[in-house]
């Protein structure tokens, strides 16, 4: 698999999160999932999207550690490369 840039991951994560409810404009790297009203079901769906598109398997314990959008993007980018 070719390398994925952090910007690509950021764009895809924001798109996915926006599909769960919040406005894309409100989603910043420092936004917490709590502020965005992103719950555990949303994070499960995000993990599935990430697995399908980047082959990165995020387990329940990985997701529990994540508090902000930026942390998720960093983890996905690191695992994908």
């Amino acid at each position: 698999m070719s390398a994925v840039t952090k910007e690509q991951v950021q764009e895809r994560v924001v798109e996915a999160l926006a599909s769960f409810g919040p406005d894309a404009a409100d989603i910043a790297p420092e936004s917490t999932f709590e502020e965005l009203d992103i719950d555990s079901l949303d994070l499960v769906e995000l993990a599935q999207i990430v697995e399908d598109e980047y082959g990165v398997v995020l387990k329940g314990e990985d997701m529990k550690e994540l508090k902000t959008v930026g942390e998720a993007v960093d983890l996905i980018t690191e695992r994908a490369n």
């Binding site: 079901l41 769906e45 599935q48 999207i49």
Partner: protein
């Protein structure tokens, strides 16, 4: 209400998958969903010829169907069956009917580990794995219908079926829990609990004593169960989720 005004096409751009769809209740469900316009994947385990006949009947009536072999108790099978259904029918699975079921009746003191495990593996664990796989696509599509075929034995004691009752009661509460988890994704999850339905699986059970215990004084037929599944899979059932619909001639009332 805008949601009613802009009702999406139905069936949505997906197919229906019926496990254990070659005979009995499953075959009737497969035919009923095909009549509703769903392309249908008919999963079967041993009965290749019966599955082929269900497919032929659906095609003869102008529908689309494929027969897919796989033992639902095998952990590898859900992925294989979903991949084949989606490849051969060209659309994702947006309706799943977990119908495959077996009985290994025995009174609890003599129930063997093998009898217990086989019934739990097929009737409960198989339904869980198929549901988990189905939810991936349904959640993303924001639409889906899952119907689990439970049994009156889940709700009312039937001596000799401790294993079957435990599996089916587990399936009922699994249904309710998953329904609540995914409700806001437009995916409904319901159970149908048939009573005594005349099929190969029940032919030895249904005698005069049993019929006397059924308020309707007769066994049900497979079309009566399929009609309930057809409703739960319909667009009109979009607000019905976590429900258990008994189809039992009043036996559990």
């Amino acid at each position: 209400m805008s949601e009613l005004g802009s009702a999406p096409a139905w069936p949505p751009a997906g197919c229906a998958l019926v496990t254990g769809g070659s005979r009995g209740i499953g075959a009737a469900i497969a035919r009923a969903l095909a009549q509703e316009g769903w392309p249908v994947a008919v999963n079967y385990n041993g009965s290749a010829q019966a599955a082929a006949e269900v497919v032929s009947a659906i095609e003869a009536a102008g529908g689309r169907a494929v027969a897919l072999q796989g033992d639902v108790a095998d952990p590898q099978v859900p992925e294989l069956v979903f991949a084949q259904a989606e490849e051969r029918l060209g659309v994702p699975v947006l309706a799943l009917v977990n119908n495959a079921g077996i009985t290994r009746d025995n009174l609890a003191p003599s129930l063997t580990d093998e009898e217990w495990d086989a019934v739990i593996a097929t009737n409960l664990t198989g339904a869980f794995r198929f549901t988990r796989r189905a939810l991936k696509g349904m959640m993303r599509a924001r639409v889906g219908r899952i119907v689990n075929i439970a049994s009156v034995s889940a709700l009312r004691a039937n001596p000799g079926q401790a294993n079957y009752a435990a599996a089916k009661a587990g399936l009922v509460q699994f249904t309710r829990t998953v329904a609540v988890e995914v409700a806001r994704r437009g995916v409904t999850v319901n159970a149908v609990a048939p009573g005594f339905i005349a099929t190969d699986m029940t032919s030895e059970l249904i005698g005069p004593d049993l019929l006397a215990a059924i308020p309707a004084r007769r066994a049900g037929n497979v079309e009566e169960v399929a009609a309930c599944v057809r409703f739960l899979v319909s667009r009109q059932a979009s607000y019905v989720t976590g429900a258990v619909l008994t189809v039992d001639g009043g036996l559990g009332a």
